[in-house]
Symmetry: C2
Subunit: 360 residues, 2 copies
Amino acid sequence: MNGAPPTIYDVAAIAGVSIASVSRVLNGTGSPRADTRDRVLRAVAELGFVPDGAARALSVKLKETVGVVYRRVPKANPGGVFAEEDENLQFADIINRGIEVAAQRSGFSLLISSVAAEDADAGRRMLGLARKCDGLIVHDLVLDAGQLDRLGRHLPVVNLAGITTPHTASVRGDSETGMRDLIRHLIRDHGYRTLGYLAGVADSPDNVTRRAVVQAEARAGGAELAGGPGWQGSYYADGGAQVIDGLLGSGRPLPRAIVCANDLAALGALHRLARRGVDVPGEVAVTGFDDIPVARRLRPGLTTVRQPIKELGATAFELLESLVRHGPPEPRDVVLPTRLIRRESCGCTVAAARASRPAD
Amino acid sequence: MNGAPPTIYDVAAIAGVSIASVSRVLNGTGSPRADTRDRVLRAVAELGFVPDGAARALSVKLKETVGVVYRRVPKANPGGVFAEEDENLQFADIINRGIEVAAQRSGFSLLISSVAAEDADAGRRMLGLARKCDGLIVHDLVLDAGQLDRLGRHLPVVNLAGITTPHTASVRGDSETGMRDLIRHLIRDHGYRTLGYLAGVADSPDNVTRRAVVQAEARAGGAELAGGPGWQGSYYADGGAQVIDGLLGSGRPLPRAIVCANDLAALGALHRLARRGVDVPGEVAVTGFDDIPVARRLRPGLTTVRQPIKELGATAFELLESLVRHGPPEPRDVVLPTRLIRRESCGCTVAAARASRPAD
DNA sequence: CTGAAAGCGCTTACAG
DNA sequence: CTGAAAGCGCTTACAG
């Protein structure tokens, strides 16, 4: 940290060669003589030279950096049981790890930026990010289809919301199959005749899809599906807890099984049911979606649909890299498989649940 | 995404002004005439112009980007109960969020990079990172004191390992006070006479400190402290579980309380004790350190020491920014307060535990 | 207030 | 194989 960091000119001077030669040996281009190579490498070591990324990026028109935007959770109820927001971000964190590992394989770095849900100038923050990277990966619940597409006209964008637009690519988990298998398990294997769908953010594509599948499968299986505004959650634990409070307060009986839009909603529901003395799964079964790590730590263990979380991230990066390097990949919209994970919250015994799934 | 993105020259041409003027209105420097301002802004909007970050960085010699390096977890035992590594990274993820929020306030972006524990060319990866940012924040367990200091001679570095070196700054939680309060609680309030310290990575500064405090407080309180190689864990759940297996296999009685180096080790220990039918806290008490979100979801709720995780990250950023902008801050090595969080795994009743801590 | 021009630190045709 | 030079897209003294 003494003075300005050395530049390629300093290296060239010490090595007694031109900056072009320094650049070549450092990048492994051309075929420098062994002697040249040695002198450059020695000078580099002596100075502790590290080439400046900005200068290189400017020159090659590639920053080898991908921006990731995810949604920070709205402030939970002050004093609520779930004031701790960080648990809520597990899903995003694991996706980001998937992106990062894939990016690292390609020599790209990850520029991470969260936007608060209430953040008015989220748009500006995203532009600030955009100038520093080659393309953007945008998580669910950050931008709507219109905003995404507009952004996609300016730079490569892939969204993790499963939104298909003309100028972006997308990745999502297969909600249809996962949810279908789950509902059939509840109706056929457990014989439940009444269900409720504890919804996520109303207009999120995943929520729309999952609700539709629950409806269709309930009808096909001859089960009754409770609904209405009282079932509107938020994808977060607080929302799940509030729905349970409302349901219990309404005086109407609970359905036999509550199908939550995701694991966090289920976590909130489970917590509140336990506190109000409702036995899960004895009186009411509860299920989630995602299979975030905490799902297996809950008591009872949470029956859910596993998404390939890390792979969602890795795939998003691969789509983006392709977009950056060669333009729109084929296919532009990718759906990754999901699978039912039976634990105990659906009513399965420990033994049955364990036998049905891989060790965890 | 049609053709090359617009540059400041394009904007200037459309607006009918010089690129200097465009630069000025975009950066709010000088005092451009209202007319000039309008024309520039109109042209910017028309083109969807976003200034290139690399060019700006090269020019002003500031990337407004901070690199963060954290340690990816070694592969867990294949087929082990804790094959899922992501839970292990909660602590790092929350720190990173703290960094990010603080960085955002200063207009900095976060460049995230993990290194695998076994990764041979971690050094190279870190240099790759270094060229893209103004300084580095290095998590615990990534580099040793010598490596950190060497790195710190080339660019601003702050470490989250609590390691004090001549050329880096550091942040850590106050392990001394937190651990002292915890041990006193176990000995005085619960009357436990035998303890064991389930260690973390042997040469990690935090582990060294925590072990020393446990020893000192046990001695002072007249309690017996079990030790030996059988107590060596890893900071991860797997390590905690293995220590329990070894202990149970040895045939010797367990101490009345097992003090774990961190929450993850406690999680592993708790899991294994439950599986082997040992009652916690009835037969043996178990405690953690950190208070990661899952701690409150465990049954029994985990008694632990809360670290201000996000603040650790935010403080690390603030130190780094100061290092980047003005050179070494004062003080260069910061210690943040911790506090005992009583739940049930230490033997407290739900009521007593709840009364002793803030709602959660 | 505004513009012409130099400079930031690299990479890469182009000659030799 | 190697070097001189142009160029990447900005910012910022310096004149005017």
